[in-house]
Amino acid sequence: MTVDTAPAPAAPAAAAPARRGLALPSGSVITTFLVLFLVVAAFSVEGFASTRNAGFLLLDVVVIALIALPLTLVVVTGEIDLSVASTVGLSSAVMGQLWIAGLPLEAIVPLVLVLGAVLGAVNGFLVTRLGLPSLAVTIGTLALYRGLAFVVLGDQAVADFPRAWTTWAISSIGTTGIPTVVVPLLVLVVVTAVVLHATPVGRSLYAMGNSEDAARFSGIDVARTKLWLFVVTGVVSALGGVYWTLRYGSARADNATGLELQVIAAILLGGVSIFGGSGGLLGVIAGALLLASVRNALQLVNVPSDVLNIVTGVLLITAVVAPQVTARVKRRLARRRPAS
């Protein structure tokens, strides 16, 4: 998998938008960091390296990683979707309402996914057809969808979903402690990675993320592509909503509040440029795992949640600052050499 993340060349003067200087490196860095952290934690944190804990950890990551998949593609094209968590909430609420109404889950799930498609399409329409900035649009739908969730389910919490489903949601493969859901998730990860890194579609995503005009002049239908990305993001978020509801066995309007920031944190930590056009999926998955592992490990050693937040923040910042600084140092050296 080759990723277009040519580190910005020496001269910031090279006539190109400032964003190029900001392009983050692909996942390799963060992945190594993750591996290092896991090793260290395994030896230094009691109870971290156990199958049960691995299970707990993965269960916490599943929804974040799941939604991060399509959202990464969206960010690569230079757009963003802040409404994902609200979509989770609305899907959960609708799922609960339909269950009260007496539908079987076999019927509810497809309906909820369709709902997700519609919600995504609304974002996509406003962004691609009306040409509104996605950041603004999805701040709007973030409020709108969460609001609708309360309209649908109000203050109720629907809880009596069939044991079979809810236990499956948290079941693990044999005695490995690895949650069963990780399997379908992995499949989706691979599919998404291939699409992004090894198909014509993926190429066009990077192209439009860097220069929408140039992409259009190359015969890429930017609007349509982005529209579809938003739709897919909606569907996957709805899927996340379904899983969230089953995993906690409780359908509520306020499910997953604030999750959007965690997903985006994972994506940015994974080295995807918020301005689009660069970054890879490997890094994003690593980013999600790293965030979760760090929290998990620190919780195990009873670090208070305030500190956890600080750590999360610092982690995020260092993840973007470090490569910049090293790149700059390299440049300095490069410049010295011919001079001396």
């Binding site: 003067a13 900001l22 406003l126 900035p133 709108l144 609001g147 309209v151 910042i317």
Partner: protein, 356 residues
């Protein structure tokens, strides 16, 4: 050191340009700027009218005062945020900064009850400025996307805040702990207008005037409009961006003090989630999220609109569950309106070009 040149030789006749005045263009741009803010103003008036029809008491003195009070804080935040957004950056940490400075100024007043209000205000702003300095330094010096940095500091500052609160014995600072002099500020009025709101107005006017009439202000627009061009034309990009963040931080700090004065109960959740509303206010107010255009007056109107929505909806007797939905819908409506106006301008420009 450059030697001024003597007046250049006049051009040959046939090369002299045809006379042409830009009045039409000036008027057009003027109209656009107006139109943008007018659009929001219209939305605002409409909302108020509808609410008043539904509930005449909406315009009662008490209620209007409450509304302006609530608007004050968001407005101050929006003013600062506008400066940052114009430079093609964003500061998501303002909510946390507000919380931090509110708690800081609160603590100051508890440990040193005698402190004059002015000092408290300055202290709060100082705390904010430091936070802004941190954000700005990372963004400008390390040259990393502000959205990532400030998302990080959003977590970090909030963490600091609650860490501070939990490690001190003061989880919550209550009205009883605050000096009455400061508390009176919350309700204080000048000619019937809440003082806090006047503070916000002053802030907006100052920022707006600076952005419009000083070189440094215009350079902020330049940076946001084309960072590379800004560098090539010798604008001190790093310095300007840094300043924008510091000012924004200081204003968030001020907002924190206003918050303390208004709510007089300070816990570690103060200002949580404000960032999205602030950005929304700016965007609704016609500030281009990708920098380079928009005015602080628009942003202020945006803030006023959002607050009015917040207070009007319950008084329209709207089921509380419908509240957030309505807010979202209105945000979308506002930016769509703004977009429509922009498109009209673009169309005119094209027409004008071809007509040359």
């Amino acid at each position: 050191m450059s030697a001024p040149l003597t007046k250049p030789a006049p051009l040959p006749e046939e090369l002299a340009a045809p006379e042409r005045s830009g009045r039409r263009g000036a008027a057009l741009v003027q109209r656009l700027v107006l139109a943008r803010e007018l659009g929001i103003l219209a939305a605002l008036v409409l909302l108020v009218v509808v609410t008043v029809i539904a509930n005449p008491r909406f315009l009662s003195g008490q209620n209007v005062r409450d509304l302006l009070l609530s608007a004050a804080i968001l407005t101050v935040l929006a003013a600062g945020q506008t400066m940052v957004i114009i430079t093609r950056n964003v500061d998501l940490s303002v909510g946390s900064v507000l919380g931090l400075s509110a708690y800081a100024s609160g603590t100051l007043m508890v440990v040193a009850p005698g402190t004059p209000v002015v000092v408290v205000v300055l202290a709060g702003m100082a705390v904010g400025a430091v936070c802004g300095l941190l954000n700005g330094a990372i963004v400008a010096v390390a040259g990393v996307p502000s959205l990532v940095v400030t998302l990080g500091t959003l977590y970090a500052f909030r963490g600091l805040d609650s860490l501070w609160a939990s490690s001190s014995d003061r989880l919550q600072i209550n009205a009883a702990d605050l000096p009455s002099g400061f508390k009176s500020l919350g309700g204080a009025r000048l000619l019937g207008v809440p003082v806090l709101f006047l503070v916000a107005v002053v802030v907006v006017v100052l920022v707006g005037y600076h952005l419009r009439t000083f070189r440094s202000g215009r350079e902020l627009y330049g940076i946001g409009s084309a960072p590379e061009a800004a560098r090539l034309s010798g604008i001190p990009v790093g310095k300007r961006v840094l300043t924008a963040f510091v000012v924004n931080g200081a204003l968030a700090g001020l907002a924190g003090v206003l918050y303390a004065a208004r709510f007089q109960t300070l816990d570690t959740t103060a200002g949580t989630g404000q960032e999205l509303f602030v950005v929304a206010a700016a965007v609704v107010g016609g500030v281009a999220i990708f920098g380079g255009s928009g005015s602080v007056y628009g942003a202020a109107l945006g803030a006023l609109l959002l607050t009015t929505i917040g207070t009007a909806l319950p008084q329209l007797g709207l089921d509380p569950f419908w509240r957030d939905a309505a807010v979202g819908a209105l945000i979308l409506g506002a930016i769509a309106l703004d977009r429509a106006l922009q498109l009209r301008l673009a169309a005119r420009l094209r027409g004008r070009n071809a007509r040359r």
